[in-house]
């Protein structure tokens, strides 16, 4: 009966959404309280679920289901599936969500539509938890889209400004484009299997029902959805723009949980992906390319949130890379640690933005003294992100690098280079934002209130210690079958050089100014512009949309109005013209009519005669 009570985990936030929407809307602090209470209970239940798994074992998934719709040939369920993956994700999601919701009390304190904010957040949590607990493809897809729409609503939370309104649309449509692949892959596999259920389909895959080639097609299609949601190249364009949303939302949705759903999906469907080496190769390459691609762009961004956004894309690339080379546990572990330190970094950035009212790093500077809590927690998060031992990111990233090295040296080179960039751009952020002298916006900056500091500290602690669960995590996820791979100290010592080199380079450029970064930008102007313009991907898409889709649309609209409808109006015109011409037969002279009558009679007689009537 244990999984039954787990229904409360997604149900409570959903109830909070309903209650806020229908009842407590006018009282914004009450709404916030409702949402936080709901997520707190969900958090405790999730902890309970995880500890249950740790004690009772997670080898076989525990499933409860309810029929969602049924026809003669279709049978779709909604349900709860508790196993290692979902147990871990539950804890990640509820922890970050709880932290973010508490933090928002401070960050959004002057927002009049706080009720709406917390309603959307609660709906997001419910959908995300439903996604995590999904027992079948259909539920996964349903929740997948629901988190997407929550992301849409939250990015566009300040809908009365142009940029968020546009960014929200872009995010939704881009991910929707990826979801098209998901939908088709889902229809393919479920039609072939006659079921939506993970367990049944897994059994069929294991039994070798389908060829690897076919499974590869399905897997790649499904991966389109994952790539859209996890902002993998080439569908990454929406995530940086999504930073128009409130910063806590970026922390929750666009750093820790929703964007990781793609990774979670690939891990959840690992039985499918791992059945096709080609699909795995696609995942690995896309992941590796994304990791370096986004890291390079992050080097030159001026907006603190955008640096973090590109960093998120890059880290998601690492996770995909890990999954692609077969390291499901490694990828998931990076997801696990990344959730904490990236949420921390976003919340830290939020704290800075709250204090300075700008996103531009170059207007900040010298905040270390004014915001010590934010500074130190941010540094902890950055070190974790850069992968410096013994912070959390070190363990997870090291495991990935080690795996990749054994599989594909080219991707390994990309990953190492990405790691170098990561350390560099985070050093850059810290130097520009917190060190040096105060610039325009830093003047009146002050430390954030305690409701914002507490989540920072908690997440900072998690960012430091989460890595030590490395071995236990792998055992849990691998189901005890594979011996957890220990930390390879020699390898780690070598890879440690990479982030340290990155940090050193960052310090030289942005603290010691030798060489001067501006001079470098001038010297390598083409490269700098290429990065600054984000490899022109957005421009390419805008061009495609403007020149191809919209022109097609306008062309078809013209076609519809003038050709299709023109034909209709043409028929009407023809009828009218015929009438206009034929009316001249009506001469008004009675003898013409009489002639017609007699003539007609004569012709009829003639016909009858010829036909032999008489």
């Amino acid at each position: 009966m244990f999984p039954g009570i787990l229904a409360l985990v997604p149900a409570l936030p959903f109830l909070a959404f309903v209650v806020i929407g229908l009842v407590t809307r006018p009282w914004r602090w009450l709404s916030a309280g409702v949402a936080i209470a709901a997520i707190s209970v969900a958090f405790l239940l999730s902890l309970g679920a995880l500890s249950f798994l740790l004690t009772a074992g997670a080898e076989t998934p525990r499933v409860v289901e309810l029929t969602w719709l049924t026809t003669s040939t279709l049978n779709a369920h909604i349900g709860l599936r508790l196993d290692a993956l979902s147990g871990i994700m539950l804890v990640v999601v509820t922890t970050v969500a709880l932290m973010v919701q508490i933090y928002s009390l401070g960050y959004m304190s002057e927002e009049p539509s706080l009720s709406r904010y917390y309603a959307y957040l609660s709906l997001f949590c419910a959908s995300m938890l439903g996604l995590v607990l999904a027992t079948n493809f259909l539920q996964l897809y349903v929740c997948w889209e629901l988190v997407g729409v929550c992301s849409y609503l939250l990015i566009g939370f300040w809908y009365d400004r142009h940029a968020p309104a546009f960014a929200a649309k872009k995010a939704f449509v881009t991910t929707r484009f990826g979801d098209l692949g998901f939908l088709i892959g889902l229809i393919m596999i479920c039609t072939a299997a006659g079921s939506f259920d993970f367990v049944e389909i897994q059994a069929k895959v294991a039994a070798g029902t389908w060829t690897a080639g076919w499974l590869g097609t399905v897997a790649v299609l499904l991966f389109c959805g994952a790539a859209g949601k996890s902002a993998q190249v080439p569908l990454h364009v929406w995530l940086p723009d999504a930073m128009e949303g409130p910063t806590p939302v970026s922390a929750l949705i666009h750093a820790a949980t929703m964007v990781a759903a793609g990774v979670y999906m690939v891990a959840r469907l690992f039985f499918l992906f791992s059945a096709s080496p080609d699909a795995m190769q696609v995942v690995a390459v896309i992941g590796g390319v994304t990791a370096i691609f986004a890291a390079l762009i992050a080097l030159v961004q001026d907006d603190i949130k955008r640096v973090l956004a590109y960093s998120t894309i890059s880290q998601l690339g690492y996770m995909m890379l890990a999954l692609g080379v077969g390291g499901m546990a490694a990828g998931m572990f990076h997801l696990f640690t990344h959730a904490f330190f990236k949420a921390l970094l976003f919340l830290g950035a939020g704290s800075v933005i709250h204090a300075t009212h700008t996103n531009n790093m170059w207007e900040m500077g010298g905040l270390r003294k004014k915001m010590p809590w934010t500074f130190w927690t941010f540094v902890a998060g950055s070190l974790a992100l850069a992968g410096v031992a013994p912070f959390a990111g070190f363990f997870s990233k090291d495991a990935i690098l080690h795996l990749v090295m054994g599989k594909n040296l080219f991707l390994f080179a990309l990953a190492v280079l990405g790691s170098l960039c990561t350390a560099f751009y985070m050093t850059r952020v810290i130097c520009v934002t917190f060190l040096g002298e105060a610039r325009a916006a830093s003047g009146h900056a002050h430390e954030s209130p305690w409701v914002m500091r507490v989540p920072l500290v908690i997440l900072a602690v998690l960012s430091v210690v989460a890595g030590f669960w490395h071995a236990g995590f792998e055992r849990l996820v691998q189901g005890g079958e594979a011996e957890a791979e220990g930390l390879n100290l020699g390898f780690a010592a070598v890879t440690q050089m990479v982030p340290l080199a990155g940090i050193l380079a960052g310090v030289m450029l942005y603290v010691l100014k030798s060489p001067d970064p501006d001079a470098l930008a001038v010297r390598f102007a083409p490269l700098y512009t290429l990065l600054k313009r984000r490899f022109y991907v957005d421009e390419l898409y805008d061009w495609i949309i403007d020149r191809i889709v919209l022109r097609c649309s306008a062309g078809l609209a013209w076609f519809d109005r003038h050709v299709v409808d023109g034909a209709v109006n043409g028929v009407a015109w023809l009828t009218q013209q015929t009438g206009t011409q034929l009316r001249y037969v009506q001469t008004g002279r009675v003898q013409h009519y009489a002639l017609a009558v007699f003539g007609g009679a004569a012709i009829l007689l003639a016909i009858a005669h010829v036909a032999g009537a008489f």
Partner: protein, 518 residues
């Protein structure tokens, strides 16, 4: 005045209660006839009102359409899904036996779902017309008359009766658009009516062919008899297109759809709601009930070709909607696109496809009703429908913006709202039928997302156009109307099982006759 209104409405309701009570007590329930006659009776009473009581019109209309809606809900609840399903609530009376015409009504799961849809839409439509001032009595009377026709079509088990009700449902549109419309209303009304009459002509040819070829003596229009008749394959292949296209015109089948954008754009709010919400479904219903079910061999022969056209419907409708400047045209073209999904579902002749098609009929009916109501309410405040003129309305009209968002999300097939369930089932069916078509159709949903969100962004989001600084949000009647519609979308989106089971009980019968694959 109000006191008089309430007295009259109370009397009407009491009389209705007595009438139904009598029927129930004497165990002679004619539920279908009752539901059908209710709006008609309301319309007649409204026409009989003296001028000085004209202001009570809308209350009387509501007093008759509310019980109609409740009875439809009751009908859906009373419909027994378990066991055979099949046709229930049957009524039969001889009418013109010499010509084989009878008054026979019955509904299966599909018909019941459509009754439910019609009941909801007519009540919401009455509420949405609360602000009509010009010739109120005639407006409501025609609206209610039309509704009776719609109910009749969904229940008719006799082709003659079917045709009769069909025309009753279609013809009042001419007056409703021509008199109460906006823009080039005479042109639109004329175009719509002539186009639909063209469809009727095709249908009539098909009906008469079915009648004369049924081979029983005396000849009969009875559909149950026709169901048992094995029409020759040549006959079926010859006459299937007549029936399909005749109904297809009303279902917005490409390229015979252009009456719909003009008609819907010119029509007054409630008429757009009823037309796009319910009348277009008559077309799809007719395709299932008459064309496919009575001519299964013809269906198998022709539907693969027609399916290609439905794909054009879906993608082309969405693309054209994307570059419309008038809000109503956007929604009209989105209807063309969504009705393409319905007809595609029918064309697949699979269990999932047909279920999805009927579910989409329901879902799209509600959704488009919601949309047209919203556009009407917005137009009533801004006096413009040009998208570029709006901007930031969400700031001043949060309630309308919220409902618009719900409708928009349902329209782009967001899971959790009913549109998804329908589209998903249709795509499943389409995949079994022809994967290429399924992929193209599914691609249409990306375009749908693009244009729906574009409209949302341009109209309700962004900085408020200072022109509309003093605009007001929805009033209580409007909120009631919108809530009913949105609740249906959410309810059946979150938990589609009851509705799907209801529809499936009808689809099973269709498939048993057509012999489609699983």
């Amino acid at each position: 005045m109000a006191a008089v209104s309430f007295t009259v409405i109370g009397l009407v309701l009491a009389a209705l209660a007595g009438f139904f009570g009598y029927q129930a007590a004497t165990a002679t329930p004619f539920w279908l006839t009752d539901v059908m006659v209710l709006p008609l009776a309301g319309g007649l009473i409204i026409m009989a009102l003296q001028d000085k009581y004209a202001r009570m019109t809308k209350w009387i209309a509501a007093a008759f359409s509310l019980p109609a809606m409740l009875m439809c809900i009751g009908l859906a609840l009373a419909f027994r899904i378990d066991g055979a399903g099949g046709y229930q609530f049957a009524e039969h009376a001889s009418w013109t036996p010499a010509l084989g015409i009878s008054y026979s009504l019955a509904v299966d799961g599909i018909g019941t779902a459509m009754f439910l849809l019609t009941g909801v839409i007519i009540f919401a439509g009455c509420l949405a017309s609360w602000s009509v001032e010009h010739r109120v009595r005639e407006f409501y009377a025609l609206l209610l008359l039309l509704t009776s026709g719609v109910f009749g079509v969904f229940a008719a088990r006799d082709l003659f009766l079917f045709f009769l009700f069909y025309e009753v449902a279609v013809l009042p549109m001419y007056l409703l658009i021509g008199i109460w419309g906006t823009g080039p209303k005479e042109y639109s009304a004329m175009k719509l009516t002539l186009y639909l009459l063209l469809g009727s002509a095709f249908m009539l040819v098909g009906f008469l062919a079915l009648y004369f070829a049924s081979g029983v003596t005396p000849l009969t229009f009875d559909m149950d008899t026709m169901l048992k008749t094995a029409y020759s394959p040549g006959f079926q292949k010859l006459f299937f297109p007549f029936l399909f296209l005749g109904f297809g015109i009303l279902a917005g089948f490409w390229p015979l759809h252009t009456w719909s954008p003009d008609g819907h754009a010119s029509a007054p709010t409630a008429v757009s709601m009823l037309h796009a919400g319910v009348l277009m479904k008559l077309g799809a219903f007719g395709i299932i009930r008459v064309a496919v079910e009575l001519l299964p061999i013809g269906a198998h022969a022709w539907l693969p070709y027609f399916a290609v056209f439905t794909i054009v419907n879906i993608t082309y409708g969405a693309l054209v909607a994307m570059s419309q400047t008038d809000l109503k045209y956007v929604i009209a073209y989105s209807s063309v696109s969504h009705m393409g999904i319905v007809v595609l579902g029918i064309c697949t002749l699979t269990d999932a496809g047909l279920n999805g098609a009927v579910f989409q009929m329901f879902s799209h009916g509600i959704m488009t009703g919601l949309f047209f109501a919203l556009v009407g309410f917005t137009y009533g405040r801004t006096h413009t429908r040009i998208i570029a003129d709006f901007g930031g309305l969400g700031k001043r009209m949060p309630v309308l913006a919220t409902f618009f968002t719900i409708g928009g999300l349902a329209s782009l097939g967001l899971p959790g709202l009913s549109g998804f369930v329908a589209e998903f089932m249709v795509f499943l069916g389409a995949w079994r039928f022809n994967p290429v078509l399924a992929v193209i159709a599914a691609a249409g949903i990306v375009f749908t997302a693009a244009y729906v969100l574009r409209v949302l962004q341009r109209c309700f989001w962004g900085p408020l156009n200072p022109h509309f600084a003093d605009i007001t949000d929805a009033n209580r009647v409007e909120i009631l109307c919108l809530t009913i519609l949105a609740a249906c979308l959410i309810l059946f989106g979150m938990y589609p099982r009851p509705l799907v089971s209801l529809i499936n009980s009808g689809v099973v019968g269709v498939l048993a006759r057509v012999g489609g694959g699983g």
